[in-house]
Point group: C2
Chain length 210, copies 2
Amino acid sequence: MADAARPARLENGRRDLTNIAIDCFARYGYKATSIARIAEAAGLTKGAIYYHFRDKEELLFAAVSDRLTQFERSVTAQILPPADAGRALREIARVCLDHATKSNHRRFIVTLMVEAIDTNARLAEQFRAMMHRFRGFLREIIELGQREGSFRGDVSASVAADVYAGAVMGAEIQYYQDPESFDLEGTVNTFLDQYVGWLQRDHPQRAERR
Amino acid sequence: MADAARPARLENGRRDLTNIAIDCFARYGYKATSIARIAEAAGLTKGAIYYHFRDKEELLFAAVSDRLTQFERSVTAQILPPADAGRALREIARVCLDHATKSNHRRFIVTLMVEAIDTNARLAEQFRAMMHRFRGFLREIIELGQREGSFRGDVSASVAADVYAGAVMGAEIQYYQDPESFDLEGTVNTFLDQYVGWLQRDHPQRAERR
DNA sequence: TCAGCCATACTGAACGTTCGGTATGTAATT
DNA sequence: AATTACATACCGAACGTTCAGTATGGCTGA
């Protein structure tokens, strides 16, 4: 006899509310997302939120932990078979694209990361550590490529990792700002062609560079 | 007999307050910046703000207009002598770096841009238009390089512009998040070497690319 | 030169609203 | 009967905003 218009209880309150909160935080950020808005999005009232979470910050940190671990897991999981470094870099970008377009995981991370920098020291530290791990992961892949000989050895792997992380994130933001007309996949693919090609070419020592 | 402890009036209220507001907005974003905080930073009271501005939004838009026009002016001004396209791209990055490190102009733009996407339609539209103009400007430079023959013609100038805009912005964000340890200049310079080199090489038709 | 006048640039208190958070009631499940 | 999973009603603080009042400086006419 189906559900009809039942009070619409949640099956797994904490988990469901976390997901709903993530949607709101990803769009409006932390400060501009009220508890009432999250409750309304869940079809509940504020009291229900405070039944599952001590306060707004606990909900925030639950959401952040959830998305951070889930994103990092899907990045590292996709790479476990240590394929060649070039393919690995392409795979990672693919995961980022998925998390940016098929869900709002990456927008949540980017939005909260920017907002937290000077408004929430604890959160900012978590995002800093996360970016540090991400860049470290990329650096290791690049160093692997350099040891294998498929990547040129005359560039700093860590700076190259920074370039990669920035290019992907910057493309994402342009997409969030204008999802209708910004070609995220094309932009990231073009960057990858250029970037991986650059890493694979050995010591080009380009003619003139004043 | 000097000033002593005068009530500290502003010489140019609107302008000074706009600059102070920009500092706050750049750090904390719009929502998390209270009128009281801006007033305190200016050494005034809340009422003084409302003498110069109708409401918080007018102050915000004044700040945005100020920084957007100023940034766009310094980008276009630096390029007026139509030097070769490669140098122009490097010059533009230089201007972005200056505005990111020597002032908070770019952080203001990036922070507010991310925050506005789904919280302030009018503001979001302004930032969308600004990014559109910026990418269009880059595209024209790249097309110039292509017509000149110094840039390869087998890539989309508009997608290449998107890559550039994203890479610079993504690097900036990593810097804002961790200004102590993130090497913004090195990252952007490395990107430029790779990017301009990529544009300058003609039809490499890289061997294998599955 | 100086009183009178007015515009400028504020202060400080108050108001209405919003928001995070709490206390308590209640229907359904076990 | 007790626990779970909420709803309802409310509190206090913070916030944006308003407004009456005031100190200051420049201008003007005598």
